[in-house]
Assembly symmetry: none
C-alpha cells in the first residue's frame, strides 16, 4: 500500500456550543466549508475528548496528547514550552518562567499587568535586560521576547527548583509578590532568593532606561517590571521521529505550541504575517504547509490560533470567518499537493464563544484517507453531525489512527 503523507490540522479552541447570535447554531454549523465537506464524504468522523471526557484541556496538554504523549506523564508546566517557542535553547534542569512586561507604581503596586499590551519597544527592552543582567548569585539569566508584552525568563545553574511561587499578583491594584519556596528544600529556597534579587535588578534596570522615560513623556505606561509566573523545569521529551518514525514539521505562530513542537524535535516554521490571531495570513500558512509537505517531511502539523482568539473575545462572526478561512486553507493545500494525502482536522479543545474560556466538551474530528474505507457519511462537519460518526476517541489515539490510515503503522504482535 502507498504510504501517504499526513496533514494534521488543528484549529485552536474549535469546539463550540449553540450560540444565540447564530440562531442556535455553532460556528462550525454556521460556517461555509465546501472543501472540508467535500473530503468529509470519504472520511471517518466523530468526537474526540483531548484528554478524557470532561477534562478541560490547556492547549499544551492537549497538543501533547494529540502528538501521542500522555500529559499525565510528560507535562511539567507551560513555562519551558513558551521559552522554547520564543527561541530559547534549554537544557535539562533549566527553570523557565512566563513573564509580562508590566507597570508598577512607586509602592510596587501593579497599575497595568501588560504595560499597555502593545509594546513597540519590547525588542529593545529584552536586549537591554540581556545586556545588563547576565547572572544573579552565580545563576545564569536569559530573557526571550514573546508576543506583545510577553517575555520568557530562563535560569540556568546548579541546585535550582521550579517549586517557587509567582511574583505576579495576577490582578491590578495589588502589590507585586515576593517569590517563596513551595517546598522545604534548599533548592527551592535558593531559587526564590534568586527570583527576588532578579526582580529588584529588573526594576532598577528598566526604571533607569531612557525607553521608559520616553514612554512616560508620551503618556504611555512604563514597562518597569517583568512579572514572573509558572516556573517550570525543562525536561527532555521523547522525539516524534523516535516513537512514530515520522519526520514532522510544524507551522504555527503561537509560542506555546511552537515550544511543544520543538520539544518533540519537530522542525518549526512561522510564516511571514502569521500572527496567532484573527488577523493572521492564512494563505501564507497554507503555502508554507504545501512547501513542507513537498519536502522531506512525513507529517506537517498546521496550527491555527484564530478560532480560539475569536472565542476568548466572545466574537461569533469572527470565529465563523476563521473557520471559513481554514476551509480555504484546506482547499489551497489540496490544490497544492493533490488528494493523495491523509488529513486529520480537529480542535485541541472547545472554547465556546458564549463561555469565552476553554471547556471540557468533546471536539469534532474528521480523518480523510485516499484509500477505500467505510466512511461515516456525515452531511456536514460540525458538533451535531459528529455525534453520528464512528470515531469516539481521545487525543492519545490520534497518532495511531494517522499511522494506520497512512499505511505507516507497525503491527503489534504477529
Amino acid at each position: 500500500m502507498k504510504r501517504y503523507k499526513i496533514l494534521l490540522l488543528v484549529a485552536d479552541g474549535l469546539g463550540d456550543r449553540p450560540i444565540r447570535f447564530l440562531n442556535g447554531r455553532t460556528p462550525l454549523e454556521a460556517a461555509d466549508k465546501p472543501n472540508l465537506n467535500s473530503i468529509l464524504r470519504s472520511s471517518l468522523a466523530g468526537l474526540m475528548d483531548p484528554i478524557e471526557p470532561g477534562i478541560v484541556p490547556g492547549s499544551d496538554t492537549s497538543h501533547l496528547a494529540i502528538f501521542g504523549l500522555n500529559p499525565r506523564v510528560y507535562y511539567k508546566g507551560r513555562g519551558s514550552f513558551e521559552a522554547l517557542g520564543a527561541g530559547a535553547e534549554l537544557r535539562e534542569g533549566d527553570i523557565a518562567f512566563r513573564g509580562n512586561f508590566a507597570t508598577i507604581d512607586e509602592n510596587f503596586v501593579v497599575i497595568d499587568r501588560r504595560a499597555g499590551r502593545r509594546l513597540d519597544e519590547a525588542e529593545q527592552l529584552v536586549a537591554l535586560l540581556n545586556r545588563e543582567i547576565q547572572e544573579v548569585d552565580g545563576v545564569r539569566v536569559r530573557f526571550y521576547r514573546g508576543t506583545e508584552h510577553r517575555v520568557s525568563v530562563v535560569l540556568s545553574g546548579e541546585k535550582l527548583s521550579d517549586k517557587v511561587s509567582d511574583t505576579d499578583p495576577h490582578e491590578v491594584h495589588k502589590k507585586i509578590l515576593r517569590a517563596e519556596a513551595r517546598e522545604y528544600t534548599e533548592e527551592a529556597k535558593r531559587t526564590a532568593e534568586v527570583v527576588n534579587k532578579l526582580t529588584d535588578r529588573i526594576i532598577s534596570v528598566l526604571s533607569a532606561s531612557h525607553i521608559n522615560k520616553e514612554r512616560i513623556e508620551r503618556g504611555l505606561p512604563p514597562a518597569n517590571i517583568v512579572l514572573l509566573r509558572g516556573a517550570s523545569t525543562h525536561t527532555e521529551l521523547p522525539k516524534l521521529k523516535d516513537y512514530t518514525s515520522l519526520r514532522g514539521a510544524a507551522v504555527s505562530a503561537t509560542a506555546l505550541i511552537k515550544g511543544v513542537c520543538r520539544s518533540l524535535g519537530m522542525h518549526v516554521v512561522t510564516p511571514p504575517r502569521a500572527t496567532g490571531g484573527v488577523d493572521t495570513d492564512y494563505l501564507s500558512k497554507a503555502a508554507h504547509t504545501v512547501k513542507l509537505l513537498k519536502e522531506d517531511y512525513d507529517l506537517v502539523f498546521l496550527h491555527i490560533k484564530a478560532t480560539d482568539a475569536a472565542s476568548h473575545d466572545g466574537n461569533a462572526p469572527e470565529k465563523v470567518k476563521a473557520i471559513e478561512m481554514i476551509d480555504k486553507v484546506v482547499g489551497r493545500i489540496l490544490d497544492g499537493v493533490g488528494s493523495e494525502i491523509v488529513i486529520l482536522f480537529t480542535g485541541d479543545h472547545a472554547t465556546p464563544v458564549e463561555v469565552k474560556e476553554h471547556t471540557g466538551d468533546p471536539v469534532p474530528v474528521m480523518l480523510y484517507t485516499p484509500d477505500s474505507i467505510v466512511p461515516d457519511y456525515l452531511s456536514d462537519f460540525n458538533e451535531r453531525e459528529a455525534r453520528k460518526g464512528s470515531l469516539k476517541i481521545v487525543g492519545l489515539n490520534i497518532m495511531h489512527l494517522l499511522l494506520n490510515y497512512s499505511n505507516r503503522a507497525s503491527k503489534y504482535g504477529a
Copy 2:
C-alpha cells in the same frame, strides 16, 4: 437467571474495506448470512478496536485482549505461543524460536527461505533433529513440527535469555546471520553462542541426511538448515478458569492461536481436516464445537483462519465464501445445541483484501443472548451497519460482556 453456555466465534482478519471487485461492498456486506442475520435481531452489535483505535493488532496480541489479558502486560513475543501450539510443553524461562526449514548453498547463502514450502518429509526431519541433537553446551534442545515448512525450536536450561538476534536474514540471496546478544548480559551472550553452535549442528545433521539427498535427486531444494527468529521467553499466563471461572475449550487449526489458548489453560481441539486455510473442513469444526458445548465446557472458542488467509491472498470471492461457510457453521451449531446460548461473533483484526495485511481499523462485533435485551436492530451484520450499533468497545471488554450476558458475572462491589 439461567447461566448460558458461550460460543466465542472469531473469524481471523474479518474486518475489511469496500472492494472494487465487490462493487464497493465489503466481504461481510457481499456475503449471504441468513443464520447470523437471524440472531442479529436479538443481538447487540457495534465496532471493536481489538487493542486501541488505530493500533494494528497481531493475532496473538488481539486474542490475548479478547480473552481478557492486556497484551501490554502479558505479551512477550509469539515464539512460545507457536511452540505451545505445535505441542511443546514449556516451563517458565524456556526460550522458544520460530523456525523455517530452508535451503542454503555451500556459502551459507539462503536460496529458498521455505525449502520449497511444501515439505512432505517435515515429520521425519523433525524426528531426525530430535534424535541427533538433544543438547548443546548443557542446554536441552527440542524441535516441534509446525505447519508446512515451520518448526518451533525450544531451549531449556539455566541462564538463558531471549535477547538474541535472528539467524534468519529474512531475505533470499543473503547469508545466514550469526546470532548476537541484544543486551550486555552473560545470559544473552551464552544464548547467542548456543544458537550458533546449534545452527552448525543442524546444518551438518540435515546435510548428511538421506532425505535431503533424495530431495536433491528429485530436483527439490534440500531442507538443509532451520532459520531461527523471534526468540521469546516462556512466561506462565493467568488461566482463563481462574480469572473468569469459565471452563474453556478451543477449536482451532492455527498453531499461534492454539498456543495462546493452551497458555490460558484451555482444552484445545484440532478437528480432522481443519487446516487453518480456505480449504478447512468447516462442518467438522462445527461438529466438534457442538460436541464441546454439550460437554462440561462453559465457553467454546471457535477460531476460523480462512477469512484471514483469503485476505492475505487478496482474494475477495474466497473471503465472501469463507464468511458464508461461517454462517453455515453458526446454523449447524444452533441446530446442534439450540438457541439457549450466548454467541459473540467478531474478528481479531481487519485484514482488508485490497491491503493484504492487518490494519488498525475497528472490526464489527455482534453479541446474541437468548434473554430479553434491547437489541441494536441492525439490518445486516457488516462494517457499515455496525456503526449504528451500541457497542463501541475494545478487545479487553469482551470477556466481561460475555460473563454479563450469560448471567455468569460476579458483582464488583456491593
